[in-house]
Every structure is written in structure tokens, then in C-alpha cells.
Symmetry: C2
Subunit: 273 residues, 2 copies
Amino acid sequence: MERLQNIDRLSLNQITTDRLNMREAVECCVRAEVPWIALWRHKVAEAGVAESRRLVKDAGLRVSSLCRGGYFPAATAAERAARMDDNRRAVEEAAELGTDVLVLVCGPAPDRDIDYARKTVAESIAELVPFARSHGVKLGIEPLHPMYAAERSVINTLAQANSLAERFNKQDVGVVIDAFHVWWDPELYAQIERARGRILGYHVSDWIVPVPDLLMGRGMMGDGVIELRRMRKAVEAAGYDGPIEVEIFNRQVWDMDGDEALALIKERYLEHV
Amino acid sequence: MERLQNIDRLSLNQITTDRLNMREAVECCVRAEVPWIALWRHKVAEAGVAESRRLVKDAGLRVSSLCRGGYFPAATAAERAARMDDNRRAVEEAAELGTDVLVLVCGPAPDRDIDYARKTVAESIAELVPFARSHGVKLGIEPLHPMYAAERSVINTLAQANSLAERFNKQDVGVVIDAFHVWWDPELYAQIERARGRILGYHVSDWIVPVPDLLMGRGMMGDGVIELRRMRKAVEAAGYDGPIEVEIFNRQVWDMDGDEALALIKERYLEHV
């Protein structure tokens, strides 16, 4: 299958270089000529939204997405309302930072009732849509690997994310496909095709064998078993030609020098994605 | 929802008390008046098949299943043939031990080609069915949690296991539903109903938050977030009234005294399953 010919679509998801602050991450992208960056809210908060925007803009970078909104289900009405407030702030930040994609990590159930939590997620997205639309921001539902169902998100397959997204207009709500979360799914390729017109992002890393850690065990592309190129081609065949984020939670990668990490990412991106 | 009124259907899956040998596990069941036991092949091998059979039979225990056949995909034809040989031995052992259920943990791909591995699993089961039938043994496809897709099984949802089982006669091939592996699945209850007439086992443990370990992190029933009773009722509504295996991979449980472990299992089984 054909390789990517250049890094025009490569985006550094900021969590991949979590030890770098906003300025350092931006400078690494510039030196590596990586044209896109995906921002995380805790990093944006550190630098401030206005300063983050200035740093990114002055560097000529484009922002592929802001991570993350979501975490909708809560044990009390007050807590749920607080989380909706926080999601509205996330929408405002996305707009101010110049991206039209807010990634949603929808959150776990506060108790054993996963069905109710899923219902809450759907209602919360419906509530958030008009606000997001008015800010020019789309909501990207990212299904998370089932191993995170109890701790991070009750949305765990692309089929489920598609069903949820299809309740809304394509202009408002889509899906974000992260290879690490969905690679195992027997329905993957049918669901990628089903997502046509709603794919708001494609994220890459790899699944290492054996898995070293539930959260921090993602691998550099090429170090694991995911058919990254096949999936990228399928996402493209379904109409997505936007940025491809490299999002790796891995302490070894975090411990690398930023410039070395970017160099390795570029090499692996061209070789494996 | 209604509780189980007694422990008539309770089965000790032998991995739950992995530090006990065959004789010790059998004796613990007898003292606890647990009527069923599920055997693992490495334990059977330690004691010998004939001696295992004698111990179980003399104690008046019934064997709910033998774990496990499977691990079909292999890198070479020779290795694949060797695994088929081993599966035939597993069928023979199941028959000799007096159970009609051989649990299949289908195995990972030897490379990145998960589709091919899945095809191999289907072909291997087709090859094994006549042999198993002639021994009065049913093959129970157990979907494993997607986090084990790269290391233990490429069969990762109940939908997938149902589709695979449906290629065969109900008398020959069914599914084994383990709460730990499937609890997160948005399609779970529809797929349990779909499995009607093919459910060959129901296994319980719990999903602890946060997950302490990928393999050894299963919890005692009641210590986690799984709706075990709801799932048991659904499995019953789909026609299954057979043994319920308690299968817990957890070092703390392994470190317990056998009698204390069985006492706790009985208590939690009646309270939570």
C-alpha cells in the first residue's frame, strides 16, 4: 500500500511530548517542520489561552484539535452542571485557539449503571451542540478502548460512536478514530466506511506486545501490531484527508529529548502510517 | 432482582485457587459443599488425567468445563498442526474428565494480520468439530476482552463469537460468556439473547477500578463495577440454567487460604451474582 509522501498532514498531539511546555512543543514542531499541533487543555491552562494562541499562530502552526471535552456522567446534578460549564469553556477555548474540533472523551459511569451513563452522554452532547455550533466548533466523539470503560469513557466502539454521532447533523458532531482504541474491532472497516463524512480526526500510535501498562503503554508507530497503513487508507477511502495526530502515552517517549522524539515520529510516520 | 437461593449452580474455576493442586482444590470444594469444579489443563497434567478424574468423581463433584483449547493461529503450518493435535488431546481429556464443554481461548495472531488469524480460528474450529462431536464434547467459544486481542484471542466480542458459533450446529459449538470480558459491550444484552440455545457457560468475577493489572486484575464479585446479577438474569432469560463458574485471576485471592477463599466466594456469589 502506498506510503505518505510527506509530513503535510502530520500533527503532534501535545500529550506525546508531555514534559514540554507550550512554547517548547511549538518550537519543536517548527524546527521539525511539523505543520500541525493538537493541544491539551492542561497545557493550554499552564500557558494561558491567549498566549497559547499567540505562540501557535506566530509559529505558523495549525491546530488540529483541542483535547478534551467530555466526562459528562456525574453522581450529582450539581457536578453534572459543573461539567457542562467546563465543556462550554472547552468549546470557547477551541474556538479561540483556532481549531474547529473539540475531542470528546465522554467519561465513565459514576456507579455500576453503564446504560444510564451512556444515556447521559447522549443528552449532554445534545445540550452542548448549539453552543458549539455558535462557536464554529464540531464535537468529535472518540470511542475509547473497552479497557477504559470503567475509568475514562463509556463510549467504547466506533459503531457506538457512529450511532451517537448520527443523531446529530454532520456539521455538528462527528467521530475521532484513534488506532490504539479501535484496532481490535471485528467491525472496524465497516464502521470506518459508515463514518464517511463524519470523521474529524485520525490518531496513531501502536499496540505493543506485551502491553506494558494500561494507560502509559502505547507504542511508537511500528513497534506494535496495529495495521496503521491499512487503517489510514480506509479512513481516506471514507473521505478523510485531514491531519493525522500522533498521540502516544509512553514514559520512554516522554523521557526523550523533544527534537529527537519529533525526528523519530517523522521517520515512523512515513514508514508505518 | 432476585438472588440465587443456593449454591447448586456454583462452580469453582480452578484458576481462582491456582496455588492449590488438584486434590486440594477438590477437597476445598467438598468442605464448602460447592458442587461443581472447572478444570484447567495444566492442573490436570500435574495430577494426571486418570487421577484427576478419580479425585473429582470420588468427591462427587461435577465438572462444568475444561479450560482450555484454542490458540489456533500459528506462524508455520507445522506449528498450526501441532496446535490442532493439542486441541484433539484437550477434547479427549474433557471427555475423560466427564465434562461436555471444552472452553476455547482462540489465540492471537502470530503477526499483524488479525483478519487472517480470525479466518484461521474459524477453519480450525471447523476441523475440530467432528472429532469433538465423536467424543461428546461441545466447543465453547469464549470471547476475550479486546485488551487481550494481541496476546490471547482474536475473538473479542460476543457478537463475533455468536457469528462464528452460528456457522455450526448448536449441538457442536456454542459460546461461553465471561462477565469480565464482555461487561463493557454496548451490544451485550442483544447478543446474550442472540446466543439463546448456544450458551455453554457463564463466568463471573468483577472489574476493579482502577484496574490493577491487565491479566491479574480481576476482582472478587462485588468489588467492582459489573452488573453481575443483571447479566446472570439475561443469561437465564436466554435459556441458560447451567453452572456458574467463578474465575478470578488475582494474586490476593491466590494468596488466601483455600477454605477462606471458598467461603468468601460463596458469600459474594449469593450477594452479587
